[in-house]
Amino acid sequence: MRVIVQMRPEHDVVQAVVDPSVSTPSASDVAGSLPGIDLDADFVPVPVPQPKPVYSDGDPLSLDQPLTFSLAAEDASVLVRGEIQDRDGSARLALLSSQRADIVGIAADPAVETTPTCGNTPPVGDWHDVQRFVTDALKSEGLDGSGVPLAIVDTGINLAHLGQVLGSPVTVDAARSWKPPGVNGNFGQFPVNHGTMCAFDSLIVARKVSLLDIPVLLSQRQGSTVMEGLLSDAISAYAHLWGLLEQMPRERRRMVISNSWGSFKPTWDFPPGHPGNYSDNRAHPFNLIVAALEVSGADILFAAGNCGVECPDGRCGFPNRPINGANSHPSVLSVAGVDTHDARVGYSSQGPGRLAVRKPDIATYTHFSGSKAFGQNSPDSGTSAACPVAAGVVAAVRSKLSVQDLSPSRLRTLIRRSAHDAGGHGYDFDYGYGIINTPQLVDAVRRVGKNNAGP
């Protein structure tokens, strides 16, 4: 639980906080160590004036009268903020107030949102922010995705663009890439588009992955647009990936598959209740092959979708429960989107899912200035960007742990358990189990490594 702590420290500390001509003391200088509270060191302490009755015979405790406000050192208080552990929160608060006489009050610090980040809003932060939030903890543990095959199932990858934006060359594993029959172009040389954005967003987290270019959404068929495929193309792609995976010895087996696509409308599908329906039916061939591939050892991630209630994508046709088909499969990690201020973007689809209720699983960053695949000022947006960021995290973890060390199912559990709770308390349909928290995940992975090594 996030809290605001109102304190009345020594007069000279209050004076230093109030006085704009001197540098403001840090939160720890104001509050010291508050037992049970993780103090937010980045929050600059804020002075709060003391209300006083205008008239000498006024009630000193009433706010319902004419008031003046004093920032004099002997009157003012100071706000700091932090997070109190959720377990036994009430007892912790009571203990804190009794132990520290300089605490005047403790108040909740709820998330506030004005207008949510929507499709037509400018970028919130940039890809360096994402690196800082997500990648630093992984890098410190040497988790960079080295040699991990990461399949971008999308519109194809453009390596020249990636190298230019990232500032160093990028390669794809052409020998293990795959494209539907009739798709022209070479792996790594497709036009800059959605797939290039997705590849970029995974590379900013796990720079050393081995990219597999799987341009399923470029499937050429009569009447198709440039950015759509058919689910049957994805089945073929997954059959190819299954073949690759089965060739790897289990002690070295690992593959991450990032999918930032899905079905937008129920009218594209057989009706709900029809035995051949895709959205609600785990027996559909694509949902079957997803399950088979996960059993074989693939870490499969799907974007949750862009049908959030605040500002859904114009293509959304689901009146409710938009996380459908494989995007809601129990064997995949379904990824919601937050901006770099940890607020759910308004278009990120909310659960419950159709194949599994607890969807999305987790959230991570989107809507940041990144690949510039859609222009200099256009953000990498949609849960399309969040999914490969999460796939980069999974690939980074896989650089040291094979499927034999840690099954895809257990890895999903670690990611969920280590997530930073956001939105409602515990699991919720906006953020899932919370925002991916790589420092906590790295701790969990370290423990797995130790346990696997034995005594």
């Binding site: 950015m227 689910l231 696509w261 079905s263 051949g276 974007a303 114009g314 949609g382």
Partner: protein, 94 residues
């Protein structure tokens, strides 16, 4: 009238290393009822389950065919799929 295009998926259970011709023989499918370019795609190799694309008429016929029942399932939808970004406003909708 143009011939019907294969647009629906069915699954069939066959021995390992079966071919699309094996599937056609098992299900009684003519060449023009199957997308032979799509082929016979393994979807759950442990169970010998394969997918193939057939015409709607063939899918409907197989659904009611007692002789093939048990060896196949479907027809299943083959919906189009699109990327989840960039986010389109209502005005951008087709």
């Amino acid at each position: 009238m143009a011939p019907e295009r294969p647009t629906v998926l069915i699954t069939v259970t066959l021995p390992v290393r079966s071919t699309i011709e094996d599937a056609q023989r098992r299900l009684g499918l003519a060449d023009d009822e199957v997308d032979t370019a799509y082929g016979l795609v393994p979807v759950d190799p442990a169970r010998g389950t394969y997918a193939l694309l057939v015409t709607e008429a063939a899918g409907a016929r197989l659904q009611g065919a007692p002789e093939a029942r048990g060896s196949h399932q479907g027809p299943f939808a083959n919906p189009k799929i699109e990327p989840f970004g960039p986010v389109q406003s209502k005005d951008d909708e087709d």
